[in-house]
C-alpha cells in the first residue's frame, strides 16, 4: 500500500479534481446518504470488538491494581507494579526481550533483503527456492521449537553430532546460560526470515526497471545498483519488516517456551514468559500488571519508531 508513494513518484500527479463545494446543509439525512452502509451495519462488529477487545482491556487496567483470585478481588493500588519491578528476573527478562527483539529483527532485515535480491534475480530453480525459503513460516512454531530442541541436544542432538564428525565439540546450545537465548533467536530467524523475504521481494519487484536501465547507461555496477536504487526504494518494505519483526520479537513467547521454558533457570526468560509464569503460579493480579506493562512498553517503542520510519519514508 505504502509502495504507491514511491512507485508513483516519477509520474506527474494529475491536478486534483476541482470539486464544487456547495454550502453543505448539515442535515443528518444527507450525511447518512453519503455512507456506504446504514449505521446499524456496523453494530455486529462493534459489539464483538467491544466485548472481546475493549472490555477486557479496560478490565485488565482495573485488575492490575488488585490481588485477585477467581473468587474474590482485593484492591491494593499500585503494589503489583511495585512488586513486578522488584522482580529480580524482570530486569533480566527486559534485557533479554530487547536483545531478542533486536537480534531477530536485525537479522531478518539483513538476511531477508539478501535472500530477496537473490530470489528476484534470474537464477535456476527460482520458484522452488522461493517455496523453500517460505516453507518454515508455514510450520507450527511449537513443532519447530520441539524439533530444534531435539536437534540442539548437547550430546545426542544432530547438530553437535555433526560437529563432532569434524572434531568440533559443540556447545550446549540450550543448556549453556550465555547461549540459550541466542540459540532460540537463531531458530526464530530461520522460521521468520521467509516472511521478511516475501515482503522484500514484493518491494523489489515494484521498483520500476527504468531506474536500473538508466543506471546501467551511466555505468553503475551491481553493488552500486543495490545501494543506490534497491535499498532506498525498498524502504517501505524495510519499515514493514522492522515493525513486524520488532513487535513479534518483543512479545515472543511460544518458541522460547517450547525450547527452554525460560531456562536454564531464568536465563532465557523474556517479559512474556515471566508474565506467563506469574499467571501459572496463580499470581493473577501480578501477571495482569505485567501485561499492562508489556502493552505500554510495546506501544512506547513501536509508536515513535513507526512515526519516525514513516517520516523518513515521506522525505524520500
Amino acid at each position: 500500500m505504502t509502495m504507491t508513494s514511491v512507485t508513483s513518484a516519477p509520474t506527474i500527479p494529475p491536478p486534483p479534481p476541482i470539486e464544487p463545494e456547495p454550502a453543505r446543509p448539515r442535515l443528518s439525512g444527507r450525511i447518512r446518504a453519503n455512507r456506504p452502509y446504514p449505521g446499524w451495519f456496523y453494530l455486529p462488529a462493534a459489539i464483538i470488538y467491544t466485548i472481546l477487545f475493549l472490555v477486557p482491556t479496560v478490565a485488565s487496567f482495573y485488575f492490575s491494581l488488585t490481588r485477585w483470585t477467581l473468587f474474590d478481588v482485593e484492591f491494593i493500588g499500585f503494589q503489583n507494579f511495585i512488586q513486578f519491578f522488584q522482580e529480580p528476573m524482570l530486569v533480566q527478562g527486559f534485557t533479554n526481550t530487547f536483545v531478542y527483539a533486536a537480534i531477530t529483527s536485525g537479522a531478518k532485515v539483513v538476511i531477508g533483503l539478501a535472500l530477496a535480491v537473490l530470489l528476484t534475480s534470474e537464477i535456476v530453480g527460482r520458484g522452488y527456492l522461493r517455496a523453500v525459503v517460505f516453507f518454515p513460516v508455514l510450520v507450527s512454531t511449537i513443532g519447530v521449537g520441539f524439533t530444534f530442541k531435539v536437534l540442539m541436544d548437547p550430546f545426542d542432538g544432530l547438530i553437535n553430532q555433526t560437529l563432532a564428525v569434524f572434531g568440533i565439540e559443540g556447545p550446549g546450545w540450550l543448556t549453556d546460560p550465555s547461549l540459550a537465548l541466542i540459540s532460540v533467536a537463531l531458530v526464530d530467524i530461520w522460521k521468520g526470515v521467509g516472511l521478511a523475504t516475501l515482503i522484500f521481494m514484493a518491494g523489489i519487484v515494484a521498483i520500476p526497471r527504468e531506474y536500473y536501465e538508466a543506471a546501467k547507461v551511466d555505468g553503475a555496477g551491481g553493488w552500486r545498483n543495490f545501494w543506490s536504487i534497491t535499498v532506498p526504494l525498498v524502504r517501505p518494505a524495510t519499515n514493514t519488516v522492522i515493525i513486524l519483526s520488532l513487535i513479534g520479537g518483543l512479545r515472543s513467547f511460544d518458541l522460547i517456551w517450547a525450547m527452554t521454558r525460560g531456562g536454564p533457570g531464568f536465563t532465557s526468560d523474556v517479559i512474556a514468559s515471566v508474565i506467563y509464569k506469574q499467571y501459572q503460579a496463580g499470581f493473577y493480579g501480578l501477571s495482569t500488571a505485567g501485561n499492562v506493562i508489556l502493552f505500554l512498553v510495546v506501544t512506547a517503542i513501536i509508536l515513535p519508531l513507526f512515526i519516525w520510519l514513516n517520516r523518513r519514508e515521506v522525505e524520500l
Binding site: L70, Q86, D153, K277, A281
Partner: protein, 435 residues
C-alpha cells in the same frame, strides 16, 4: 458486490453458532433414578497415577455394579495441570471426582467452596492423623489417600557401593566423602536431570527433616513469616548442598539436558551412582528395568545432625462440590480409603512406601529401595512430613531457582534470598496474616 452482501449472513451464522454453544453448556448432565450412575473422573496423565486410578476403578466397579466411573486422564501434569484444575473448579466444570496433590497445592484450590466435605464420613477416622491435616481446612476434610507415602532421599546403585567398599552415609560429610571416592574411581557420583526442572528441588525439599530436627516449630514460624531461608544457615543447607555438588564436579556431564527418564535409566544401569529423588520413582524403574531394580538401594538425604526421612504424603482423590451424585462419589472415596482400596492399588502399581490407612498392609516382596525406606517408619526410625505438607506456602519458582543454584548460575545465598521473595508473593496471594 456479492461478497459484501454475504457479510451479515456470516455474522448471523456466527452469532447463531455461539448461541447454540451457550445453550449446549446449560444442558447435559442429567440424573437417573435406580439406574446405573455414571461418575466422571479427571486427572493428569502421569503414567503411574493413571494406572493406580484404573486399578481402583476396576475393583470398585466390580464391587459396585450400580456405579460406573468414566476416567478422563488427558489432563496435563505439573504447573499446567494446577492451572487447569483451579480453572475447572472455579468455573464449575470439574468432573465428579478428580485426582490432585495434598498439602500446599490442595490449599490453593479454595477447598471450602469447591470440594465436597467428607468430615462426617466414618472412614476419615481410619486415616493417619498427619495425612488428614494435608487434605483438610479449618472447616472440613476433603480427600482420600491415593497411594502410599513416599520418601525423599537418594537412590544409589549398590554394585558401585560394593565395588568401592562404601557404606550408606548418615551425614552430609560421609555423603561427600562417598562422592569423592566415586569420582576418583571415574564414576558419575551424583545424577541430576535439570531438563525436567522439578527434579532439581530434592536437595532442598528433602532436607526438611534436618531443618525440623534443629527447630521443631520451623514450619509454623515460616507460615507466619518469622523465619526465612536466607537468614537460617540450617534451612539454607539444602541450597548450599546443591551448589557444592556442582562445584565439586560430582554431577553427570549432561546434568543440564538430562531428563527424569534419562536419570532413572542411568541409576538403574549403573551409569551413575546417586540420584536424589522421591521413592515413587521406584515403580517406574521396576516397570522399565525389572532386572536391575534390586540393585538400587535408598537412603534418606543426609544432613548435619540426626538422620531421618522427609516424607511426601500421597496425593488424594477429591469430589467436586457441585457433583450431581454426592452419595456415589462418597462411596468411591470410602472405597479408596479402605483395605480393599489399598490392595487394588498394590495390585496395580506395587508400593513405594507404607499406606496411611488403618489395616492396610504392604506385600513382603517389595523392591529393595522400598525395603530400605521402611525402617525409617518403624520403631527407632524418624520421619518428618515435607514442608509443603506442614505449611500452605510453597513458592512456585523454586524449581527454576534450584536449577540455577545447581548449575552454578547463581550462588546458594542468592538463591535462598530469591526464594524468600517468591514465598512472600505466594503468602500474599493466599492472604495469610503477617505478610
Amino acid at each position: 458486490m456479492s461478497a459484501k452482501r454475504r457479510m451479515p449472513a456470516i455474522v448471523l451464522a456466527g452469532v447463531t453458532t455461539l448461541a447454540l454453544g451457550l445453550s449446549g453448556c446449560a444442558a447435559g448432565g442429567g440424573t437417573s433414578d435406580g439406574e446405573a450412575v455414571e461418575l466422571s473422573f479427571f486427572m493428569g496423565n502421569v503414567e503411574a497415577n493413571v494406572a493406580t486410578a484404573e486399578g481402583l476403578i476396576a475393583a470398585f466397579e466390580a464391587a459396585n455394579p450400580d456405579i460406573t466411573i468414566d476416567l478422563d486422564s488427558s489432563g496435563p501434569s505439573g504447573a499446567e495441570g494446577d492451572n487447569l484444575t483451579k480453572t475447572k473448579l472455579a468455573t464449575g466444570e470439574m468432573a465428579d471426582l478428580f485426582w490432585y496433590n495434598s498439602g500446599s497445592l490442595f490449599q490453593a484450590l479454595n477447598p471450602d467452596q469447591t470440594l465436597l466435605n467428607m468430615a462426617d464420613e466414618p472412614w476419615v477416622d481410619s486415616l493417619n492423623e498427619s495425612y488428614v491435616q494435608t487434605v483438610s481446612t479449618d472447616n472440613g476434610v476433603y480427600g482420600a489417600p491415593a497411594g502410599t507415602a513416599t520418601g525423599g532421599g537418594v537412590f544409589y546403585y549398590i554394585p558401585d557401593y560394593e565395588e568401592l567398599g562404601l557404606s550408606v552415609p548418615t551425614t552430609w560429610e560421609e555423603f561427600a566423602a562417598n562422592n569423592e571416592a566415586l569420582k576418583a574411581a571415574g564414576k558419575e557420583a551424583v545424577i541430576q536431570s535439570y531438563a525436567d526442572t522439578w527434579t532439581s528441588q530434592i536437595f532442598v525439599l528433602a532436607d526438611y527433616f534436618n531443618v525440623r530436627a534443629e527447630d521443631p516449630d520451623w514450619a509454623e514460624k515460616y507460615t507466619a513469616g518469622e523465619v526465612k531461608y536466607a537468614d537460617d544457615p540450617v534451612a539454607m543447607a539444602g541450597f548450599q548442598h546443591l551448589q557444592d555438588v556442582h562445584e565439586a564436579g560430582f554431577l553427570n556431564q549432561d546434568f543440564a539436558s538430562a531428563t527424569f527418564d534419562d536419570a532413572l535409566r542411568k541409576v538403574a544401569n549403573g551409569e551413575g551412582t546417586h540420584y536424589p529423588m522421591l521413592t515413587f520413582a521406584i515403580s517406574t524403574i521396576a516397570d522399565l528395568y525389572p532386572d536391575t531394580v534390586d540393585d538400587i538401594g535408598f537412603f534418606a538425604l543426609p544432613g548435619d545432625g540426626a538422620n531421618g526421612l522427609t516424607v511426601w504424603m500421597p496425593p488424594a482423590i477429591y469430589a467436586s462440590a457441585n457433583t450431581e451424585h454426592p452419595e456415589e462419589a462418597k462411596r468411591f472415596l470410602e472405597f479408596v480409603a479402605s483395605v480393599d482400596g489399598c490392595d487394588a492399588m498394590t495390585d496395580a502399581v506395587g508400593v513405594s512406601g507404607p499406606y496411611l490407612v488403618d489395616g492396610c498392609t504392604i506385600p513382603d516382596d517389595v523392591p529393595r529401595a522400598v525395603a530400605d525406606m521402611l525402617p525409617y517408619f518403624e520403631e527407632g526410625g524418624e520421619t518428618s512430613p515435607a514442608l509443603e505438607f506442614l505449611s500452605p506456602i510453597k513458592g512456585p519458582s523454586l524449581e527454576q531457582i534450584t536449577v540455577e543454584v545447581g548449575s552454578g548460575i547463581r550462588s546458594a545465598a542468592d538463591g535462598a534470598a530469591l526464594y524468600d521473595e517468591d514465598v512472600k508473593k505466594q503468602a500474599q496471594q493466599l492472604g495469610l496474616p503477617g505478610w
